[in-house]
């Protein structure tokens, strides 16, 4: 059991400039939604912590639980970095209810039983007040019973398949309908798409997402699905499906391929002579963020469209500050994908909920969470729904050769999260 260095040590560390920069940015942005410098003395520990959490007169301990070893570490590292950045910024402006955030980081090791073990450790042994963590649905499913049994509070950053609404989880990523429906509407309306070819990696998220996509395409848009196929995780031979696509000529390839398979898929598409910049067929994906493009190579995916809620290139003040603070802390060559941004929201939403509740007690934080607003989110304004998901906008970006997306569309209003969509079951 190790306590990671708290802010004091971090500030004197090598990245002092980054911290100060980040701190200023945070102070500026955060002042919009919290009273400045709440003092711990005004909130006696005995009153704000009645259930024995790891909250003292000057610190609150939270957990960070992601894979930093194993196959998922490439994806989850960005989330860890974003969460640490948020924690540092919050501490620089005085912490939560005047208490510095300290964190205990555990490694889920890309292994679901390990996630369950470590989440028990964080909740039972360390009594952390909340946890920022998990990435894959499998890891979330593994820890969910633990969080519900020990009444923990988890901020989960990944866009996922929905069909879940736990009182012990705040989902800061999009559930499936938020990511799918607006994108399909856009491609049908703006690009005149009539026919779709669905494909994905073979597990719950792509399958559920494609189920929703198919229902929407057939029942709501009145268009046609020409094919639907799945490939095992890690699959690298996509030539047969590429041939089928060339034969059947869909207007849109709707791709939900994940992880290492992405690299093979996009390279083989290009090698087969499908130039995505010509948009015939057009490729729309919900699984490729800026992080994945680093592996795929910008030149291999140029011209493809992705439907997300956040792109690094978003042009607003919050995001400009966030991107520069992130790069100051973690390095100039960093890219920030959708999930990384969603992970960044976790500590901020937690801070806002605790300060609204005036308490660290999980039951009170849960009660206070719906209705919490963040005007400082890099993606813009977000709000916590009664169902523990976020209201957020859906955006479509077009991949550039430099690995960034150019935002070509965003919904006018926030899209309501609907984890159990009727008519899509």
């Amino acid at each position: 059991m190790t306590k990671r260095p708290d802010t004091e040590t971090v500030v004197t560390g090598p990245s002092r400039r980054g911290v100060l920069m980040g701190a200023t940015a945070a102070a500026m942005t955060a002042s919009l939604f919290t009273p400045k410098s709440l003092r711990a003395a005004d909130f006696p520990t005995a009153e704000v912590n009645t259930t024995g959490l790891a909250v003292t007169d000057d610190a609150v301990t939270i957990g960070i639980l992601h894979s930093i070893t194993g196959t998922m570490s490439i994806s989850e590292t960005g989330s860890v970095q974003a969460e640490k950045l948020a924690i540092e910024q919050i501490n620089a402006q005085g912490g939560i209810l005047g208490r510095k955030i300290e964190y205990i980081q555990e490694d889920g090791a890309s292994d679901w039983p390990t996630f369950a073990e470590k989440s028990r450790k964080l909740l039972v042994n360390d009594k952390v007040a909340s946890v920022m963590g998990c990435w894959t649905s499998a890891s979330r499913k593994a820890v969910l019973p633990v969080f519900e049994q020990h009444n923990g509070f988890l901020y989960y950053p990944t866009f996922y398949e929905g069909l879940e609404q736990s009182p012990n989880v705040i989902y800061t990523g999009q559930e499936a309908t938020q990511q799918i429906i607006a994108g399909l509407d856009w491609v049908a309306k703006e690009k005149g798409a009539e026919t779709f070819y669905l494909l994905g990696s073979d597990y719950i998220w792509p399958r559920t997402s494609n189920k929703i996509a198919r229902k929407h395409i057939e029942n709501f848009l009145g268009k046609k699905v020409l094919g639907e196929e799945y490939y095992p995780l890690g699959h690298t031979q996509f030539n047969s499906v590429i041939n089928k696509i060339r034969l059947r000529k869909p207007d849109v390839i709707y791709a939900i391929v994940v992880g290492g398979s992405n690299v093979a898929f996009y390279k083989q598409l290009k090698a087969a002579g499908i130039d995505m910049t010509e948009e015939s067929p057009l490729l729309l994906t919900i699984s490729v963020t800026e992080d994945e493009i680093r592996g795929i190579g910008g030149e291999n995916i140029e011209g493809a469209y992705a439907c997300m809620k956040y792109f690094q290139s978003l042009d607003n003040e919050n995001n400009v500050e966030f991107v520069s603070a992130f790069k100051e802390m973690w390095g100039e060559d960093m890219v920030i994908g959708d999930v990384t941004q969603a992970a960044y929201l976790g500590p901020w939403l937690y801070k806002a909920a605790v300060e609204k509740a005036g308490s660290f007690d999980v039951d009170k934080v849960r009660e206070a969470s719906p209705g919490i607003e963040l005007t400082t989110a890099p993606e813009g304004y977000v709000k916590v729904h009664e169902n523990h998901h976020l209201w957020s906008k859906t955006r479509v970006g077009r991949a550039q050769a430099d690995g960034q997306y150019e935002v070509v569309f965003e919904t006018a209003d926030l899209v309501e999260p609907d984890p159990f969509p009727e008519g899509y079951q």
């Binding site: 059991m1 190790t2 930093i68 070893t69 980081q105 555990e106 490694d107 090791a109 292994d111 679901w112 039983p113 390990t114 369950a116 073990e117 470590k118 028990r120 450790k121 039972v124 042994n125 894959t136 649905s137 499998a138 499913k141 593994a142 969910l144 019973p145 633990v146 049994q149 398949e161 069909l163 073979d202 597990y203 719950i204 399958r207 559920t208 189920k211 095992p232 995780l233 159990f420 079951q425």
Partner: protein, 395 residues
Amino acid sequence: MSDVSTLGLRQSRLFTASEILGYLVLAVVIFIVIPSALDAFRLNLFGKYLTYAFVAIGLVLCWGVGGILSLGQGVFFGLGGYCMAMFLKLEASTPENTAIQSTPGIPDFMDWNQLTELPWWWVPFNSFAVTVFAIVAVPMVLAFVIGLAMFTRRVSGVYFAIITQAIAAIATILIIGQQGFTGGVNGITDLRTLMGWDIRPDNAKTILYFVSGILLFAVLFVAHVIRKSKAGRLMIAIRDREDRVRFSGYNVANFKIFVFCVGAAFAAIGGAMFTLQVGFISPTLVGIVPSIYMVIFCAVGGRSSLIGAVYGALLVNWAQTTFSESFPELWLLAMGALFIAVVMAFPMGLAGLYDDYLKRHVDRVLAPVDRMMIHRAARRESEKLSATRATQPAE
């Protein structure tokens, strides 16, 4: 009483004094030291480690005694775990609990995959008796089929190891691919009660720890008997000189199939206990990596020592937990260093260390006890002999 018959007794009796001492010490460690030293959370972790000890004991029989290196024990561990999980999942999926689904009353992941009724092969798992039977029987049948196909064709050594590894890979792909029936990558999660008894609270975990401990000793006893039996001694002969055993008229394949099936059953019992303690099962426990880990437990403990295997499983897992908590970024390197150290410094594992440094002292202390035991056994034997002579007059 001739010296020859005492020698026979020395070799064939079921327990020597030092073996009894070894089991006693292990019992004290598992039932007294660990539970009194640890809080409920850590005890539950050790409960999880104990389930791996079942696999390690099976591997000692297969590998240490029989010379069959299996890199696919995770498959049997997983089968046992999945059988138990299916029963628990059906119990958790009452129509009331699953009312929000399109088809209430079936497990949630089936509903997400558009299944509208329970597959026929899930139905028997509504019964606990069938489940308990299946936990042992299903892996044994699979092991029997694999054994029959391999050993009667005299596939052995590294070829057999590679094939078992391929089977582990196939099993993982199969489970992930058939997610409507198996839960896919997520596995079978959110298990709650065992015949109405909530398995989630701390006191339930503590009870499960002791149940695992008792089952472990039952398995140890069976393994010990097999090892001391004639079949066990033949297995060692097969390990060392397979041809000679074959030329002596024994069917080598049958013995190998037998021990492989036993190893599979032990692994499956461990898997079932794992599901109960951890609350879910997933394909990550079936694949190549966990299977290799299981061999490492056995190697660290000492591959020819049953007790060593238990300590190996506990030690390696405890080290893994401790390292990963202390150095989240570096723990894998620490584990690697541990394994290299084991292989370089004490290739026979913990049991080898014991044999080299401690055993002769222990034996010296126990020598009088041992002599007494042999003496008694010899007297009993001769009394039995004279008794039979008395009742059955010579023909």
